[in-house]
Amino acid sequence: MFNLIKAELYKMSKMTSIYISFLICCVSAIGVTYVLYGINQGTFELEMSTNVSLLGDSMLVSLLGGILSGVLIAGDFTNKNIHSQIVCGKGRLAIILSKFFAFAIGMVFITLPYVITSVIGFATEMDCHDLIGVPSQFMDVLTNADGVEVNGGHIAKAVLVVLLIVFLYIARLSICIPVAFKTKKTIPVIITGFVSAFLFDIISSAVSSVDGISDFFSALPYSMMTECTMSVDTEGVIKILISGIVFTAAMLAITFAMFRKDEVK
């Protein structure tokens, strides 16, 4: 399976879309930070915060993550690269896992600009205004929304929190994997990646008063994202990890159930 992962990474290194995605995230992470800093410096109006919130990670990472999984996974069915992977003889589970790990590494790469700006912003106590508009966990760390004292321990915690955010993004977007293996087409995967988070919010609100179901929804990585703040405690971290791992494992299990005897055209 290690060879399959290496091959996926090699293939990803030749994908223009991942570099473009990285560039977009760089521009937006720096752009949002600059505007939030500018608001406190008086360079920008407060309303700008709402506008730039659209460039925040919650929108962009969902979209770019969907594109990444679409191109990386579904693309192989279009160009028949999947044939080579199957004939390798490593088994279909190894193919699914290798694609997931490559996707996860790709996600880390894409979100890297947000990770770096958030940690630097927090560690340097950058004087940034809170983000108003579309919520962003990365920006909450950057702006120190929880108002914690900045010291070595808290910087380490900031690193942990941003890594947890990346982890939850990977878990959330793992929903694209079964869709990619089932539809074998890029567009449905991108739509799933982008829409799933918003769809979850709608469903979650609709069932918020129903006992049991609301508990189920609050345990999903979508809800767990709001827990990823500087005030998260050990129990919270464990909850986040369990939520992400269980959800991802479920998505991979569904994918395997669908793909293990699937016809590959």
Binding site: H83, I86, C88, E263, V264
Partner: protein
């Protein structure tokens, strides 16, 4: 250890109510080149896809290098090279990058193999920066064959490998397949619509129609079935036979029940035969060159005329 590389027993494949393969039992012996012949939709690609692990049989068993359990079968898949329908290539990459991708997948570290393979399939002189998406169909096909051969496979499965190739390319690929078979003892399962081409490549033939194996035969058997002969009907067959034996010096003839003689020698020297018969005062009533063409023979096995 068994001498066969692949053995299918009563293999069936159904797509809802449509039976693509119906009790297919074939055995591929090591070191032979098998030509899989059938019309469009006969089940050739379905069989190849099942063998390659891209599809699964609805019923029946399949053994690859003696392994039949799913786990063992998967392991044995690494011993085969495939080119099914279209080459599995990444258009954004160059030929070498595509080869490198499969090399990484298979854990092949030998760097020299890239140039050797590209040279072997006639892509050695292609601009190394040219992306595969800009390749012609023939170039893609060649690259697909190169990738199929990358791992020194023991079984090579090629579905219409000469599709899109120019006549020179067809000859090159034919020679390459034969060379690999002879030098490396690679077993080849190859399908093609080009029967004369297949005739020059394969050592054994599997004729499939509507998912059913109609016939399996060797090249010798096929040649016998398609053998051309001179059909001679005359007033004195006994005397004619003596002339054939004594004057023409051949025993490659057959006397048929209707009294006619089939002469399998001198097929292209009709004048010589007719002169010998005439000089011995034998009255010839009918004298013609007969025999099946390869296409006609396949069509007769399939039981219809159509697109083979």
């Amino acid at each position: 250890m068994s001498n066969y590389v692949l053995k299918t027993t009563n293999l069936c494949k159904c797509f809802k109510s449509y039976k693509a393969l119906d009790n297919v039992s074939v055995t591929l012996e090591k070191g032979k080149i098998y030509g899989l012949i059938g019309k469009n939709g006969a089940g050739k690609t379905t069989l190849m896809r099942i063998v390659s692990g891209l599809s699964y049989a609805t019923e029946g068993t399949i053994e690859l290098f003696g392994a039949s359990s799913a786990k063992e079968y998967n392991k044995q898949l690494s011993k085969i090279g495939t080119l099914i329908e279209y080459p599995s290539l990444n258009g954004r990459m160059t030929a070498k990058q595509n080869i490198k991708l499969v090399k990484i997948m298979r854990g092949i570290k030998d760097k020299s193999v890239d140039d050797e393979l590209l040279e072997m399939v006639g892509l050695g002189s292609v601009d190394p920066k040219k992306k595969v998406k800009d390749f012609s169909l023939g170039m893609r096909q060649r690259l697909g064959i190169a990738i199929a051969m990358l791992t020194n496979p023991e079984l090579l499965i090629l579905d219409e490998p000469v599709n899109g190739l120019d006549p020179v390319g067809v000859v090159e690929i034919r020679n390459l397949i034969k060379k690999l078979n002879q030098e490396k003892n690679i077993t080849v399962l190859i399908s093609s619509h080009n029967l004369p081409e297949l005739y020059q490549t394969a050592t054994d033939y599997i004729i499939i129609d509507k998912g059913v194996i109609k016939q399996t035969l060797t090249l010798d058997e096929l040649e016998k079935k398609c053998e051309h002969y001179l059909s001679i009907t005359c007033d004195d067959p006994d005397k004619a036979i003596k002339v054939i034996e004594n004057e023409l010096g051949t025993k490659k003839y057959k006397r048929m029940q209707d009294g006619s003689i089939r002469l399998y020698d001198f097929v292209d020297e009709k004048q010589k035969v007719s002169d010998a018969l005439f000089n011995n005062h034998i009255k010839v009533y009918e004298f013609s060159r007969l025999g099946e063409t390869l296409e006609n023979y396949f069509l007769s096995v399939i039981g219809e005329s159509g697109n083979v």
